[in-house]
Symmetry: C2
Subunit: 190 residues, 2 copies
């Protein structure tokens, strides 16, 4: 049985170093609130406001460290509330995605692009992937046994020595299955 822990991602934002400066002040350093499952990644103490054409969220958690490009990850439900139609994309692939206004305590930034619904994926450490014969970018079929069991198709495998084994789904997907962070998913085929 190829079993993987589930991590449910609520809406969050990654910011570039430039944007952290514009939103929080030049040279500002994010404070670590909690380490995440992926080594080196953390939830920051800081939050920002995001404002879409139809709605806004007042406390969107920043995940650190800084990235080359700012990126807001929302569920489809969140996207409707904001009034945006972001595509389902892998993290970092933001060409042609909608933008959004981001407000911090020291200023604001109008992102020209960067809003996505994150494609569900599994992080594999290289050793896990080798053991199970799974390649980077491979599409997997994965069963999640929550209150309302379902099978996710086209789950992207992401393999790196930097990764820890974890399946990332968003809140819509978690709610549809009735699962929460720490529950277990089973890879059915590769």
């Amino acid at each position: 049985m190829k079993q993987v822990p589930v991590g449910v991602s609520a809406r969050h934002i990654h910011l570039s170093a430039e944007h952290i400066g514009l939103l929080f002040g030049a040279g500002y350093e994010l404070k670590v609130m909690k380490d995440l499952s992926q080594p080196g990644q953390y939830a920051a103490e800081e939050t920002v406001v995001v404002v879409g054409p139809k709605g806004r969220f007042d406390k969107v958690r920043i995940l650190g460290p800084a990235r080359p490009k700012s990126q807001l990850e929302v569920s489809r439900t969140d996207a409707f509330a904001l009034g945006l139609k972001p595509p389902v994309r892998e993290s970092g692939n933001i060409d042609g995605t909608p933008g959004i206004r981001v407000i911090g305590p020291a200023g604001e930034v109008e992102l020209e692009e960067g809003v996505i619904v994150a494609a569900r994926h599994i992080h594999f450490h290289t050793d896990d992937a080798a053991k199970w014969g799974i390649a980077d970018k491979q599409l997997l079929t994965v069963r999640v046994e929550g209150e309302r069991p379902l099978i996710f198709e086209q789950v992207v495998a992401r393999v790196s020595e930097q990764f820890a084994l974890d399946m990332h789904i968003d809140t819509d997907e978690a709610n549809a299955a009735g699962v929460k962070t720490g529950d277990t998913a089973t890879i059915l085929s590769e």
Copy 2:
């Protein structure tokens, strides 16, 4: 191929005749805004306010006609917003479910129970069920091919001469799959 149209249910409420009277005035008759896929069922012009311990929704659509018991159907996302933990249930099976306050233009009602997350299900006309060899209450596995394809397990079959062929899922399930009303689902096994 056993193909079924998908209908996405947003949050809505069914009211008893007694509660319609308390909320809208004695003898009040709901006005039909739009007929639904199931014969005789309709979305009413009227909406109510529902108030949970943590949040409220100001415009919850009433579906008519009146039923023996009032019942509020929400997604898991909605339930978090209201501050309730309703179980996943089949429609009408509300014993021991949370209650909620309902406010109309002429008065309000404190439901003692009736809040559920509706279990996904497929309505079959008796003829469709006979043709495909499907029995009432049978649990089906159903593939939905949206932006993010997935397979729902334990989809309840409901068979009646009063029903029209239609698969009902809630907004979390629709968003997790990236499907909308009018898309097509395929029954994989019975």
